[in-house]
Subunit: 74 residues, 7 copies
């Protein structure tokens, strides 16, 4: 049964750095602390990747699942 | 079990100043008074951060969860 | 328990003047007559704040909750 | 209890002329014939208010609630 | 009780020509064959009204309710 | 009872070529293999109709119902 | 019964390379590892197809179903 593979991937990624692409075009990189069934996630030590040389430090954040396009585990 | 880490983060942030980024691009900073399961939040002493030197005072506000992209605890 | 603080704030604001920011960028000011669990609200003596000197009189209105970004109690 | 004041306002407005503002920016004026819990409404003798001097006659229409920003009772 | 007047209007319009305005700005005219509780509708002999002199023939179509702004019965 | 006429039309169209208009403005033509209650559909031998002379071959595709504006049976 | 043909297609595509078109206009190609009932999917060895000669390597990703327009099985 492959149907909850997405939550399994998130579960295995807790404690690792993930890349998150948002609907508003922004890209975040941070340590995945947790998630819920709406794909709301908590990231720590988060950087917003503005361009190759510019990162905005966002620290710990809660990101709403419905703002997320995709999440790349490490 | 990591699945309600987002509400736990919000719960721990009640009484602290948080940064809230909205879908319409605006950024708010205020004291988190409470939240609900839709991530509707109540902020006190809220500033809308227009640019580095300009803040609009909004006082106490209720923000709809579906307008929120992310919340940064302190 | 802080989880229904947003409805409590609205409840306490019934009978007072509130400021409502909409998704379409418009700002309303009116007397809050009531609300429901979808955050649909009823305002009386409503002004649409076009700019500092221009207000459109809208009278009594029902505003759909999903059009609302935030509500500022008085 | 103020929580279903919005449906009460609509209920009292049945048979009266209301103004309806839509998400697409259009404004309708018509006689409210009815509504349901999704705020879908039926209007009769509806005019679309293009500008102060131009009205498009739309007759009887069913308007989906999720297209509506606000409704002004008479 | 006025609360399902919108479905009643649709019910009475089955077999008649209706005008349908879509979220994407397009306007359809066709014979209403049926509808469901999501306001999904089936039209026959449908014309897309491009301008006063130009109609695209679409024949029989299923239109998703969440694409519809309003429906004008005949 | 006319209320599930839309699924009936889809049901009768399985095995036939249908035209599908998407929210993003694109138009697909393909053989309808199936559908579900969300109006997710499966098309085979799908062409994306770019203009009158240009078709992109997409083969078999699953299209999400909430991306669809309308479906024209043959 | 044709009603869950879309999940059946996805089920048969697990382990194969699929093409995914997103709402934001982007196109992904990757090995389908799994999916769930929201059409959230997990892809491995994912490339974002920027143009015919440029591919961004995204590795393993979780894509939210509501960001997806269509999925092409191999």
């Amino acid at each position: 049964m492959s149907s909850d593979v997405s939550l399994k991937i998130l579960s295995k990624s807790v404690g690792s750095t993930v890349l998150v692409r948002l609907r508003n075009g922004k890209v975040l990189r941070g340590l995945l602390k947790g998630y819920d069934q709406h794909m709301n996630i908590v990231l720590e030590d988060t950087d917003e990747l503005v361009d190759e040389n510019t990162h905005n430090k966002l620290g710990t954040i809660v990101v709403r699942g419905d703002s997320i396009v995709m999440i790349s585990p490490p």
